[in-house]
C-alpha cells in the first residue's frame, strides 16, 4: 500500500503543478485537481480498508530518515484513516460540485482547494506540535482564500474576519508550543503525555495549546467569525469546512488531550456541552439555511468535544461514539451544504423547491436523520452508547444537557424539513445529473455508514431487521402506481402477521392483530387514492415495521430502536396532511422528547450495560426503580397523549390524510399502551417517597379522560372531535392499566381492540364525508343521512359501541371497568373518571347529529355516498362490531386466561352464555336477544299503526305556522352545547398549550437574546476570542 504521506505529497505536488500551468487551460486544471483529490481519496480509502477490515497495524511514518523527536513523524491509525477518508472525499466531491465556480476562478483557486485538503490531512496525521501549527496555518490561509470563491457579497468581509481571528489563534498556539518545548524539550506530541504536571510553564503551555485547538473547533461564544464563513462561503467549500475542518480540529484536540491530564476533561466537556446547547439554541433563531447549518455544525462539533472530554468515562465505546457522531455529522453536513448549492434562495422556506424531486427529499431526510441520530444511522448507535456511557459514569446532568440540546436541534431541523415539504414551491430545483448523483451518493454513503456502525457496534444491526428492510424496500418500489404498492403493502402486513403468528404470546397477539391485519384493513381505504402517492408507502410501512418490531423486542436497544422507527415513519405520514406542518412538528418533538426520556430510563436501568433485556427491568435496584419507571412512563405517555403531553394530538390526527388518521389514531397510539403494559409487567408499581407511582398514573389517566372528553364536546371540526376523544379514550386505558388488577388490564386490552375498531371506522366515515363536502366543520354539513346512508350506519354503530350502550361491545368494556374498580381502593381518581364518562355521550351525539341529521344544505344536495374503498373497511368493522357484541368471548376468553397467569385473582368465570365476575354478571347473548325482541315487537306495533306514513319534504315541520327560511338558520349545530360551555367552560383554559408555548417562547427569546453577540463586526469577534481565552484562564486557574 502506498504510504499515507503521499496524500500530502500528491496534494502539494498537484498544487505546484497547477501553478506551473498556463492560463486558459482551466478544464485541464480542474481535471488535474479532481485527479489529485481522487488519488488522495484512494490512498485514504485504501488505508481505511487495511486498518479496518484488514486489521493492519497502525502505520508510523518517519521523515528525513530520522526518528522522532528529531524529525517529524506522522501516524495513521483507524481514527486517522476515517478522518482522512472524510476530508479527502469531501474535497473530491466539492471539487466536482464546484466545477463551474472553479473553472471561472481559475487554477489558483484549485490550488488553494488542494492545499486546504492537504493541510487538513496533515493536521490529522502529524504527531509533531509545530508541524501541527504549520498545517493549521496552511489551512487558515487556504480557507481564507477559498471563502473568496463565493459570489456572496459578504464573502470578502467574512474571509477578512476569519483571517484576523485565525491569527490570534495562531499566536496563542505558537506561544503555547514555545512553552511546551521549554518544558519537555521536545515538539513531539507523544512526548507530552502528562505535560500538565511538569514544571517550567508546562501548565501555561497546555492551557494555550488547548485554548487554541479548542478555538479551532469554534466553541460558543467565540465563533462568530466561523459562522459568517458558513453563511458567506460557497456551499461546496462550506461542506469542506464543516466535514473536513471540524473533523481535523477535533482530531487535533483528541491528540493533545492526553497532554492535558485529568484536569482537562471537565473543561472540554463543559465547553463542548455549552457550545452544543447554545449553538442549537441559536439555530432556532436562524432563517438563513447556511447559517443554520453553520450553527448546527458548531453544535455537533461541541458535542464531540464533550465526548472527547469524557473519553476516560466512556472507555471502550469511545471510538464508536465519537466516530459515529463525527462520521454522521460529516456526511450529513457535507450533503446538506451541497444540497444548499442547488437551492436558489437562502431562506429556509426556499427549500420547498426540493419537493418536486423525491430523490432530493430522500437525500435531505437522510441527512437530517443522520444529524438527529435517528435509526439506522451511526449517530443513533452513538447517542445510545453515549447516554449509556454517561449514565454508567454518573453523568446524569450531562445526559440531560445532551438530550435537551438534541431536542432543540431536532426542533429547528425538522421545522426546516416541514418548510421543505409544505411551503409554496415556486419552481423545481435545477440540478444537473452529476449534482444529483453526488448528493445521492453521499446519502447512500450515510446508509452505508449506518450499516458499518450496526456491524461493528455491540448492538443488533438494525439494517438486518427483516421488518425494517421490508419497509425500506418500499422506497425502491416508490415509482410504481399507488394501487400496486397498496396491494404489496397489504400483502406485506398479512404475510408478516402469518409469519410470526405462532411466536406471539396472547398480549403480543392482541397488539399484532391490530397492527398488521388491522393495518391491512385500513389500507383498503387507500385504494381510493390514485397516482403514485410518492412517499406514502415507505412512511406507512416504516411505522408498521416499527410497531411490529416493538412488540417482539427483547432488549432495551431493540425496543428503543423500534420506538424511534415507528416515530419517524408516523412523522412522515402525519406530515403528508395538507395543513399538518406545525402539527407534525409538534408531534415529532413530543415524540422525540418522549424517546429521550425512554432512552435515559433504559440507560439508568441498565447501569450502562450494552445488552439489557426488557425482562431485566424487573431486577432494577429499588433505589433506581421509581426513577426508571417515571422516565419510561413519561416517554410512553407522550405517545398516548396523556394530559399535559397531549397538545400535539388533535392537530396531528385531524390534519392527517383520510386514511392516515385511522392509522395514527387506531394503531399508533397503542404503542404507548404497549410500552406501559410491558413496563408494569416487569416493574410492577414502584413507590417514590411513599407514593405508589401507579396511583399517580390513575390520576393522570382520569384527568386525561375528563379533559379529553370535555374538549371533544366543544369541537366544531369533526376530526378534531375524534382526536380529542382519542385523548380521553387513552386516558381510560391508562386508568385501566394503572389499576394493576386482572379486570383493569382486561378492560385496557379490550379498549385496545375496541378503540382500534371504532376509531378507525369513525375517522374513515368522517374522512369520507369530509372528502365529499369539502369541509370538516360539522355545522356546515347536516342532513346527510339520506345521501350517505352507509357512512351514517358506520357512525351510528361506532358511537353506540363507543358510548358503551348495550347491546353492542362497548358495554362489555364498561362492565369490566366497573368490576375492575370494585377491587381498587383509589376512590378519588375514580370520581374523576366518573365525571368524564357521561360527557362522551355529548360529543358522540353531536358528531352524528350535526353531520347526518338536521337540515341538509343546498350545496350538499347532489353529494354521493363516500367512495367505495373508504366505505368498505367501515362495513367490515360494522360487521365485526355486531359479531363481537354477541360473542365477545371470541377474543376476551383467551386474553382473560392469559391475564390469569399475571394476575391470578379476580378473573372472570365463563359460565355458559353468562360471564361472571366476583361482583356481577353479564350475558351478552341474552341482552342482545331481549333487546332485539322488545325492539322488534315495538317496531311491529308502530308499523301496524303507522305503515302508511308519508315521507314529507325537508321544511315540512311544525314551525309556529311559519316556514323555516333556509337550512343554514334551521340546522341547530354550531356551539351545540352552549349551556354546558357556560357551566364548565372554565375547565377548558388551555393550560398545557400555554405552558408549552411558554417553553418554546422562552427558548426563542433566549436565542434572540444570544444572537445579539453576533454583531458581524470583526473587531467584536476578535474581542470574543480574547474574552473567551480570558474567561477560560479564570475558570481553569480557579480550578487548578
Amino acid at each position: 500500500m502506498v504510504s499515507a504521506i503521499s496524500i500530502i505529497a500528491i496534494g502539494l505536488g498537484a498544487a505546484f503543478l497547477l501553478g506551473l500551468m498556463r492560463e486558459g487551460r482551466e478544464a485541464l486544471a480542474h481535471a488535474l485537481t479532481v485527479l489529485a483529490l481522487g488519488a488522495m481519496s484512494a490512498v485514504a480509502v485504501g488505508w481505511l480498508w487495511l486498518l479496518g477490515p484488514g486489521g493492519a497495524a497502525v502505520q508510523e511514518i518517519t521523515t528525513a530518515g530520522t526518528m522522532p523527536p528529531f524529525a517529524i513523524n506522522l501516524r495513521v491509525g483507524l481514527t486517522e484513516a476515517v478522518a482522512l477518508v472524510m476530508i479527502t472525499l469531501a474535497g473530491l466531491a466539492s471539487a466536482l460540485h464546484m466545477r463551474a465556480v472553479l473553472l471561472r476562478m481559475g487554477r489558483r483557486a484549485m490550488a488553494v482547494l488542494l492545499i486546504a485538503v492537504m493541510a487538513l490531512a496533515g493536521i490529522v496525521m502529524t504527531r509533531d506540535l509545530f508541524n501541527l501549527f504549520v498545517f493549521f496555518e496552511l489551512a487558515a490561509i487556504s480557507t481564507g482564500g477559498m471563502v473568496l470563491l463565493s459570489d456572496d457579497e459578504d464573502a470578502l468581509g467574512a474571509g477578512f474576519k476569519y483571517m484576523i481571528v485565525a491569527q490570534i489563534v495562531s499566536i496563542l498556539l505558537l506561544i503555547g508550543i514555545i512553552f511546551a518545548y521549554h518544558a519537555t524539550g521536545s515538539l513531539n506530541i507523544d512526548d507530552m503525555g502528562g505535560l500538565a504536571a511538569m514544571g517550567g510553564g508546562a501548565a501555561l503551555a497546555v492551557f494555550l495549546v488547548v485554548a487554541a485547538l479548542v478555538l479551532e473547533t469554534k466553541p460558543f461564544p467565540a465563533n462568530g467569525w466561523a459562522l459568517d464563513i458558513y453563511q458567506a462561503a460557497h456551499p461546496g467549500f462550506s461542506a469542506i469546512l464543516s466535514a473536513g475542518t471540524g473533523t481535523a480540529a477535533l482530531i487535533a484536540v483528541d491528540k493533545f488531550a492526553g497532554a492535558g491530564g485529568a484536569a482537562l476533561a471537565p473543561v472540554l466537556t463543559g465547553l463542548g456541552l455549552l457550545t452544543f446547547v447554545a449553538a442549537n439554541l441559536l439555530g432556532l433563531a436562524q432563517t438563513n439555511d447556511r447559517r443554520l447549518l453553520g450553527y448546527s455544525s458548531v453544535a455537533q462539533t461541541g458535542l464531540i468535544l464533550a465526548v472527547i472530554g469524557q473519553r476516560e468515562a466512556l472507555g471502550e465505546s469511545y471510538l464508536l461514539i465519537a466516530g459515529g457522531l463525527l462520521v454522521g455529522h460529516a456526511i450529513a453536513k457535507a450533503g446538506l451544504f451541497w444540497l444548499s448549492g442547488l437551492v436558489k434562495g437562502r431562506d429556509l422556506t426556499d427549500w420547498a423547491t426540493l419537493r418536486r424531486s423525491p430523490l432530493l427529499v430522500f437525500a435531505m431526510a437522510t441527512f437530517l436523520a443522520m444529524l438527529l441520530g435517528l435509526p439506522p444511522f451511526p449517530g443513533f448507535y452513538a447517542k445510545w452508547a453515549l447516554v449509556h456511557g454517561l449514565v454508567a459514569s454518573g453523568g446524569g446532568a450531562l445526559v440531560a444537557l445532551v438530550l435537551i440540546g438534541a431536542l432543540i436541534e431536532a426542533g429547528y431541523l425538522l421545522r426546516w424539513f416541514g418548510f421543505t415539504m409544505k411551503r409554496e414551491a415556486s419552481e423545481a430545483v435545477a440540478s444537473t445529473p452529476a449534482e444529483l448523483a453526488l448528493v445521492l451518493a453521499v446519502a447512500l454513503a450515510g446508509w452505508g455508514a449506518g450499516w458499518i456502525w450496526g456491524e461493528v457496534g455491540p448492538y443488533e444491526n438494525l439494517l438486518r431487521a427483516p421488518a425494517l428492510l421490508l419497509a425500506l424496500a418500499f422506497l425502491l418500489l416508490d415509482w410504481l402506481p399507488a394501487r400496486v404498492k397498496n396491494v404489496a403493502a397489504i400483502a406485506a402486513l398479512i404475510g408478516g402477521f402469518a409469519a410470526s403468528f405462532a411466536s406471539y404470546d396472547p398480549l403480543q397477539m392482541i397488539f399484532a392483530a391490530i397492527i398488521m391485519p388491522g393495518g391491512a384493513v385500513i389500507l383498503l381505504a387507500s385504494f381510493y387514492e390514485h397516482g403514485r402517492r410518492v412517499g406514502f408507502y415507505p412512511s406507512a410501512m416504516l411505522m408498521f415495521a416499527g410497531m411490529a418490531m416493538l412488540i417482539v423486542a427483547q432488549s432495551s436497544f431493540g425496543f428503543f430502536a423500534a420506538w424511534e422507527v415507528l416515530t419517524v415513519g408516523s412523522y412522515f405520514l402525519i406530515l403528508r396532511g395538507k395543513y399538518s406542518e406545525p402539527h407534525a412538528l409538534s408531534y415529532v418533538l413530543f415524540s422525540l422528547g418522549g424517546a429521550f426520556a425512554i432512552m435515559a430510563g433504559f440507560a439508568l436501568a441498565s447501569g450502562g450495560m450494552a445488552n439489557f433485556t426488557m425482562a431485566a427491568l424487573a431486577q432494577v435496584p429499588l433505589t433506581l426503580a421509581p426513577w426508571v419507571f417515571i422516565l419510561l412512563a413519561l416517554g410512553f405517555m407522550t405517545k398516548t397523549a396523556a394530559i399535559g403531553l397531549h397538545i400535539w394530538l388533535p392537530g396531528a390526527h385531524a390534519e392527517a390524510e383520510t386514511d392516515v388518521s385511522p392509522m395514527v389514531s387506531g394503531i399508533l397510539l397503542k404503542a404507548g399502551l404497549f410500552g406501559l403494559m410491558v413496563l408494569m409487567l416487569q416493574m410492577g408499581s414502584p413507590s417514590l417517597y411513599g407514593v405508589k407511582l401507579t396511583y399517580v398514573l390513575l390520576w393522570i389517566g382520569a384527568l386525561t379522560a375528563l379533559i379529553g372528553n370535555l374538549i371533544a364536546a366543544f369541537q366544531e371540526d369533526a376530526k378534531r372531535l375524534l382526536a380529542y376523544s382519542s385523548i380521553g379514550q387513552m386516558g381510560y386505558a391508562i386508568f385501566g392499566i394503572a389499576l394493576m388488577n386482572h379486570l383493569g388490564w382486561l378492560m385496557a386490552l379490550m379498549f385496545v381492540i375496541n378503540h382500534y375498531i371504532y376509531k378507525s371506522m369513525l375517522f374513515l366515515s368522517v374522512g369520507g364525508v369530509a372528502k365529499r363536502t369539502g369541509t370538516r366543520l360539522m355545522y356546515k354539513m347536516g342532513g346527510l343521512i339520506a345521501l350517505m346512508p352507509l357512512s351514517f350506519i358506520a357512525v351510528l354503530i361506532g358511537i353506540i359501541a363507543m358510548s358503551g350502550v348495550p347491546p353492542l361491545s362497548g358495554f362489555g368494556g364498561r362492565w369490566i371497568f366497573y368490576n375492575a374498580i370494585m377491587e381498587s381502593d383509589a376512590r378519588a381518581p375514580m370520581i374523576v373518571i366518573f365525571l368524564s364518562g357521561p360527557i362522551a355521550f355529548l360529543y358522540l351525539f353531536r358528531l352524528i347529529h350535526s353531520i347526518f341529521l338536521g337540515q341538509l344544505k343546498d350545496e350538499n344536495r347532489r353529494l354521493r355516498e363516500a367512495p367505495f374503498w373508504i366505505v368498505l373497511p367501515q362495513m367490515l368493522y360494522t360487521a365485526f362490531l355486531l359479531v363481537f357484541a354477541v360473542v365477545p368471548g371470541l377474543a376476551l376468553r383467551r386474553v382473560d386466561g392469559y391475564l390469569s397467569t399475571i394476575f391470578p385473582e379476580h378473573g372472570l368465570n365463563w359460565d355458559g352464555l353468562t360471564i361472571r365476575s366476583d361482583y356481577g354478571y353479564w350475558s351478552p347473548v341474552s341482552v342482545m336477544a331481549v333487546t332485539v325482541g322488545i325492539f322488534a315487537s315495538v317496531l311491529l306495533l308502530l308499523v301496524l299503526l303507522n305503515h302508511r306514513a308519508q315521507k314529507v319534504k325537508q321544511f315540512n315541520i311544525v314551525y309556529s305556522a311559519e316556514r323555516p327560511f333556509r337550512p343554514e338558520t334551521t340546522h341547530f349545530a354550531w356551539n351545540f352545547f352552549a349551556p354546558y360551555r357556560k357551566a364548565l367552560g372554565f375547565l377548558l383554559a388551555p393550560l398545557a398549550t400555554t405552558f408549552w408555548d411558554g417553553v418554546t417562547g422562552s427558548l426563542h427569546g433566549a436565542a434572540d437574546f444570544l444572537r445579539r453577540f453576533y454583531t458581524g463586526d470583526g473587531q467584536h469577534y476578535a474581542y470574543h476570542v480574547l474574552g473567551f481565552v480570558l474567561v477560560l484562564i479564570l475558570i481553569v486557574g480557579g480550578g487548578l
Binding site: 342532513g783 343521512i785 351510528l796 358510548s803 358503551g804 350502550v805 348495550p806 358495554f811 364498561r814 362492565w815 366497573y818 368490576n819 370494585m822 376512590r827 370520581i831 366518573f834 365525571l835 357521561p838 360527557i839 355521550f841 355529548l842 351525539f845 347529529h849 341529521l853 338536521g854 365476575s917 361482583y919 356481577g920 354478571y921 353479564w922 350475558s923 341474552s926 341482552v927 333487546t931 322488545i934 315495538v938 317496531l939 308502530l942 299503526l945 303507522n946 302508511r948 306514513a949 315521507k951 314529507v952 321544511f955 315540512n956 315541520i957 311544525v958 309556529s960 323555516p964 334551521t970 340546522h971 341547530f972 352545547f977 352552549a978 349551556p979 354546558y980 357556560k982 357551566a983 364548565l984
Partner: protein, 301 residues
C-alpha cells in the same frame, strides 16, 4: 336464574301492571300538582284517553328512517330497563330478564332509549328538537354524575353489582335500608333523580308549557303514543332501580305500589315548589351539590 319461556308471560304481565299503574299514578300526581296550584286538574283516566287518541290518529308523516325508529328506541329503552331489573324481590318470575346482566346493564341501558330518541328527533330537522336534545343531554349527563357515584358507593358497600343481592342486603327492617346506612349517597342519588324526572326545576328540556320545545316536537299520532306509553313506564322502571338500591326493594306488588308512588311524589313535591333552572344552572347545581354529597357517600362506605 335462567331463561324459561314462562318468563315472557310474566314479563308481559309486569309490563301490563306497570303501564296501568303508571297511567293512573301520573294522573293522580298531576292532579295533586294542579291542586297545589289551585287548579282542578285532569281526570284520573285522562291519560288513557290521550293515549288512545294518539294511537288512533290518522295523520301520519315521517321524516326518514331514524325519525321513524326514534320512538321505537325510546320505548324499547323503557321496557328493557323495566325488564332487566328485578321488580319484586324474592320472586324468580318477577325478576323478569334480570339474568341478562347486573346493575351496570341497567345503568347503561338507560341511554339506549335516550340516544335513539335523540337521533330520531335529530332527523326531524326541527331546530327546537335539536335544542331540546342539547339541553337534555347537558342536563342528564350532569344529573347522572351524583347518581352514578352513589350507585358505585352502594355497590362497594354491599360488595356486589347484582341488584338482587343489594336488595337482599337491605332486608331486616327499615333501618337496614341504604337510606339509613348511607344517607349521603341516597341524598345525592335523589338529587340525580330529580334531574332525570323532567319536572321543575329541571324541566327546561321539554318546556311544554310555553312553546313546543324538546325532542318530541315533531312527533305526533302513533309516534307520540309510543312516547307517552314510555313516559308511563320509564319513570317507574327508574324508580324501581332507586327502590331496589336505596329503599329496600319491594317484596310484593302492594309494597311496590306504595314505594313507587312515594318516590314519584318526591319529584312532584319539588316540582311544584321550585321555579325552573336554566340548563347551565342545573349543570352547576348537580356539580356543586350533588357530586360532593355523592363523594361523601362514597367515602362513607
Amino acid at each position: 336464574m335462567d331463561f324459561q319461556w314462562i318468563k315472557v308471560a310474566y314479563a308481559l304481565l309486569t309490563l301490563f301492571i306497570v303501564l296501568n299503574y303508571g297511567l293512573l299514578m301520573t294522573a293522580v300526581i298531576q292532579k295533586m300538582g294542579a291542586r297545589a296550584g289551585r287548579r282542578y286538574g285532569i281526570r284520573v283516566y285522562q291519560n288513557y284517553i290521550d293515549l288512545l287518541k294518539n294511537y288512533v290518529l290518522r295523520s301520519k308523516i315521517t321524516h326518514g328512517y331514524m325519525y321513524y325508529l326514534g320512538p321505537v328506541f325510546r320505548l324499547t329503552g323503557g321496557i328493557g330497563l323495566l325488564l332487566f331489573v328485578p321488580t319484586i324481590y324474592g320472586s324468580e318470575m318477577w325478576a323478569n330478564f334480570s339474568f341478562s346482566g347486573d346493575l351496570i346493564l341497567a345503568l347503561y341501558f338507560v341511554f339506549f332509549g335516550t340516544l335513539g330518541m335523540a337521533l330520531g328527533a335529530g332527523e326531524s330537522g326541527h331546530p327546537l328538537s335539536a335544542l331540546g336534545v342539547s339541553r337534555g343531554l347537558s342536563q342528564v349527563t350532569s344529573a347522572e354524575l351524583p347518581f352514578a357515584i352513589a350507585v358505585f358507593a352502594v355497590a362497594l358497600q354491599y360488595q356486589t353489582l347484582s341488584v338482587t343481592e343489594i336488595v337482599a342486603a337491605q332486608q331486616g327492617g327499615v333501618m337496614s335500608w341504604t337510606l339509613f346506612t348511607n344517607p349521603f349517597a341516597v341524598a345525592a342519588a335523589m338529587l340525580g333523580f330529580l334531574g332525570s324526572m323532567m319536572r321543575a326545576p329541571f324541566d327546561v328540556v321539554l318546556a311544554p308549557q310555553e312553546i313546543p320545545i324538546g325532542p318530541p316536537t315533531e312527533f305526533h299520532s302513533a309516534y307520540l303514543a309510543l312516547l307517552q306509553t314510555n313516559r308511563n313506564i320509564f319513570p317507574v322502571a327508574k324508580i324501581v332501580i332507586y327502590m331496589n338500591l336505596f329503599f329496600g326493594g319491594a317484596a310484593s306488588w302492594p309494597v311496590f305500589g306504595i314505594k313507587v308512588f312515594l318516590l314519584y311524589l318526591v319529584s312532584a313535591f319539588v316540582g311544584v315548589a321550585f321555579p325552573r333552572f336554566r340548563v347551565e344552572q342545573s349543570v352547576r347545581f348537580f356539580l356543586i351539590w350533588g357530586v360532593p354529597l355523592a363523594i361523601v357517600g362514597l367515602y362513607w362506605v
